[in-house]
Symmetry: C2
Subunit: 202 residues, 2 copies
């Protein structure tokens, strides 16, 4: 079963909502989920049908079964190991953010070219010097790389990621690096999003 990008983007919302419900909530309705998330009823029902089948009339979905189905769809049973390149403010925030663990990836470590940053971060994850990058990624079978270095270093870091066997790159540097065919690249430019919001205000 292949889900569309827009459906996949909504699955973490459902999962987060269901996990936030009190322990004693056994059943949830599509209507309740839709209201809680500010989404449409019909959309929620369609999305959930794709990953779990229909809810029972007047009862809805078993909450824990639906959580299981969402975790399966998001690959949480088989977490993909990731690394962060660039332990500046954004990189460190990501390293210490436990929310990513819920969505099918496990951040194994961060790397920084400044050797003074080597050591444990606040969250107990390790920041290594950049010189150890390729060895670490090969040994730990890292498949996802998160780029939080300055723009001027982003292409070099992406090249290093590709050379280290990484298959998907999530880039936060404000450039568009190039990667070979077969490597996924997702550019995330927070400044661009902010510029867009700000311009709409004008």
């Amino acid at each position: 079963m292949s889900l569309s990008d827009t459906v996949i983007r909504r699955l973490p919302l459902y999962l987060h909502f269901l996990r936030q419900q009190p322990e004693n909530v056994q059943n949830v309705s599509a209507t309740g989920i839709a209201a809680g998330l500010g989404l449409g009823d019909v959309q929620v029902r369609k999305d959930l049908a794709l990953i779990s089948g229909a809810g029972k009339p007047k009862i809805g979905y078993d909450r824990l079964e639906l959580i299981d189905a969402l975790e399966d769809a998001l690959g949480n049973r088989n977490k993909k190991p990731a690394v962060i390149a660039g332990a500046g403010k954004l990189g460190t925030a990501f390293l210490e953010f436990d929310g990513f663990d819920d969505f099918g990836i496990n951040i194994a470590a961060a790397f920084d070219c400044d050797a003074k940053k080597t050591g444990y971060s606040g969250s107990g994850k390790y920041i290594y010097p950049m010189a150890d990058f390729e060895d670490f990624c090969r040994t730990e079978n890292i498949v996802i790389g998160i780029v939080t270095v300055p723009a001027s270093a982003a292409q070099d870091v992406c090249d290093k990621m590709v050379a280290s066997g990484i298959k998907a790159i999530w880039n936060f540097a404000p450039v568009r690096p190039t990667v070979p065919d077969g490597v996924l690249l997702q550019n995330e430019n927070l400044a661009s999003s902010l510029a867009l919001l700000s311009s709409r205000l004008a």
Copy 2:
């Protein structure tokens, strides 16, 4: 002149690239910018024509003039004041990130419901208790609100922002809050982006 969303999203990339060039670089070509950012030549030329006119044949654009034109288009002459609600890891990273200042907004302060967080952040910006939110926003004419609170608090915070005169909300909580007509809402779900990247790997 009204620019499309996709053009506006690229303007911060150009601006960042031009500012990163050495001081003694007087002229830049569309080809050089395109190569530096991994974009297409034709696209760069079209985008720049919209905000600054065409470059001179064989010379290109005057770098400083182009920076001025981009800053104008992005509203940097008239920075819009913003606040952050939620001084957790992501909120604090944003508060200390100086990159937003370059793109037409000025983050004035952060707010948190935990009074123990009150005080100066590492960057010298102040974190206030949530009780001061409306007064501060009214006094400082805040127009943009950045939401980095947990999902369960996001709707309350958005309501408070709207009641405080905020006109555009940039929401990082994993829910879709509702806002009245006339208020802009941009949802940014990093977990959703990561889920999408991770699922493409499967």
